[in-house]
Amino acid sequence: MSQLLEVSGISVTFDGFRAINNLSFSIAEAELRAVIGPNGAGKTTFMDIVTGKTRPNEGRVLWGERSVNLLRMNEAQIARAGIGRKFQRPTVFEDQSVAENLMMALKANRSPWKVLFWRAAALDHARVEALATEVGLGDQLERKSGELSHGQKQWLEIGMLLAQEPRLLLVDEPAAGMTLAEREQTTALLVELAKTRAVVVVEHDMEFVRRLNCKVTVLHEGSVLAEGSLDHVTANPQVIEVYLGR
């Protein structure tokens, strides 16, 4: 199976602290993967590196069929290459309506001149409406997104991610602050999405990970501790030690 993203041997040091230590990771197209690990294991730093926010001290990050080096690109270029990121805290543009948020995320040319003269066609409006309906905000298009509830904001952000049509989705703790019903919806959506693209989910909640029913990567102190099915990794004595204390 060809790999969509290949991270090999990356290390990052913050003021002498090794946040990521010789980490290697790869994911194939149309794969769902959960990344778990205790606090400070380097989960968020890992995402920061892939999305271009943090530069590693060493290592390689290769992307796509043509093995493009992501380390040479900035955040915006990486996003345009097809990597979407969902943050832990829902980050939507609260001052703007749901429709405007989605319209901004819609896949289209991102250069200032093109955007300046871009006007939404009927097709784009239809797409925004379809997306909003998909995430349960179909009747909220004209509301300011700042007025939405926490859960709705999470959904709006997921809708924005879908609008970007990324090939790889990085999702940071999607279930945080969601009700049980919303969590189930989220699980179903993530599983569905992973049929057509790669999805990496960072999560604390073991129950949630179990429901995703996918391959799990356990991070600890900046490197991979174990990898495999959830039952496999939870049976690993090292993982038990890390999670349950020494």
Binding site: K53, E75, F93, M103, M104, R119, E147, H150, G177
Partner: protein, 409 residues
């Protein structure tokens, strides 16, 4: 512009209408074309105010919409003024030199140029035309420079600043430093722009000697109104579409916009350069009405005033900036012009000329604290739009699962 733009932005039409009515009104009350109720100097003040409204729109675009508090836009304004002022001064001096030349033979081009240079630069003890004046004889060239010089300066400065991701207050300081450096440079006599004397006599338009100042002032009012109207249209067009969404997104959460795939630096650079050009055009129309420009006009304090106007008017909406600039600059003219009656408190007499900046500073603080939407917020009050009261606290995951009304109750 597609049809539907005006219907989607009703404030544009209202604004253009008010501007047209205002311009016609002033014309029919002016000394040259009407009853003469409004004096020529007042017409000039109003014309200048329109130019200040235009630069306020630029400031609102860069600060209110994109979130970059630039303290350097008056430098671009001044540069625009200098560029047009060079032609005005050169061409007028040339007329004077030619008319006073009494020789039998016509002057050679070199003699003519030397004579002009002596006239212009005698005041700073030089008699050669500096290289920056080499295009001053040509109106089209200087008009192009009005756009090009501030545009290129803003582009280079912005490219350096945004590329290295300088943001927030550091960027404000950087822009302020640029303004200060520019004005200090122009204060030097050998900068080639007459040092602290600046350029003067700009109110006399070469070739239009037969037209009196009373008519000229009205013409400039028309051109300023036209520029303001066009500037408003351009700004409204920019902020109405997806571009507007993106720049407001940059203001609210820059990193998020980046992860959507937009090159934040490119957008900032675009807006910074564009607003610098708008500011320069406003300056090029302002200084012929003011008659004189000197480096003090470009001091950082001017750009800070600009920020105060936009804040008092209400940033984040275009008419707010216009209202703020017009209101504050006119009131300021009234107070500092010595026309405001002194306030006698018995034990102390408040002379407004001295106390005006205190009053302005105080109202700035009060507006920032209690009416962040500024004067334009009054429009919301009329329309019955009230922001929800959330006490300024962001809603966390627990409270945030409630709708706002529920959480407040």
């Amino acid at each position: 512009m597609k049809p539907g733009f005006l219907s989607k932005n009703p404030s544009v039409l209202t604004f253009i209408l008010i501007l047209a009515v205002f311009t016609l009104g002033v014309t029919f009350l002016s000394e040259a074309y009407g009853s003469g109720v409004i004096s020529t100097s007042m017409v000039k003040t109003l014309g200048k105010t329109l130019c200040l409204c235009l630069i306020a729109i630029a400031m609102d675009l860069i600060w209110g919409y994109t979130g970059i508090l630039s303290l350097g836009h008056f430098a671009f304004f001044g540069l625009g003024g200098y560029m047009v002022g060079m032609w005005l001064m050169y061409a007028r001096t040339r007329e004077i030199v030619l008319s006073s030349a009494g020789g039998v033979l016509p002057m050679t081009p070199q003699e003519l140029q030397d004579a002009i240079a002596t006239q212009i630069f005698g005041v700073v003890g030089a008699s050669e035309l500096p290289a920056v004046w080499s295009l001053a004889g040509s109106l089209p060239a200087q008009l192009a420079l009005v756009v090009l010089v501030p545009g290129i300066l803003a582009f280079v400065f912005g490219w350096l600043a945004f590329k290295s991701r300088v943001t927030g207050v550091y960027l404000s300081i950087l822009t302020q430093a640029m303004t200060l450096a520019l004005s200090l440079y122009l204060f030097q006599n050998d900068s080639g722009l007459r040092g602290n004397n600046g350029l003067s006599g700009l109110q006399n338009i070469p070739g239009l000697d037969a037209v009196g100042q009373d008519a000229l002032s009205v013409w400039f009012l028309w051109v300023s109104a036209l520029a303001l109207g066009l500037g408003y249209l351009v700004a409204a067009f920019i902020v109405s579409g997806k571009f507007g969404s993106v720049i407001r997104g940059i203001r609210d959460d820059e990193a998020r916009v980046r992860f959507l795939g937009y090159s934040v630096e490119g957008y900032k650079l675009f807006v910074f350069t564009l607003t610098a050009v708008i500011a320069a055009i406003a300056g090029a129309l302002y200084y012929p009405q003011a008659g004189i420009i000197n480096p003090a006009e470009m001091a950082p304090i001017a750009s800070i005033y600009l920020a105060v106007w936009v804040a008092i008017g209400g940033r984040g909406r275009l008419y707010g900036a216009v209202v703020g600039a017009a209101f504050v600059s006119l009131v300021s003219t009234w107070f500092t012009g010595g026309r405001a009656p002194d306030l006698n408190l018995g034990f102390y007499t408040v002379k407004w000329v001295d106390w005006w900046s205190v009053l302005l500073g105080l109202s700035f603080v009060l507006v920032t604290l209690f009416a962040p939407k500024g004067l334009a917020g009054l429009v919301d009050l009329f329309q019955g739009l009230r922001p929800p009261k959330r006490g300024g606290t962001p809603m966390g995951p627990s409270d945030g699962s409630l709708r706002e009304q529920e959480a407040v109750e």
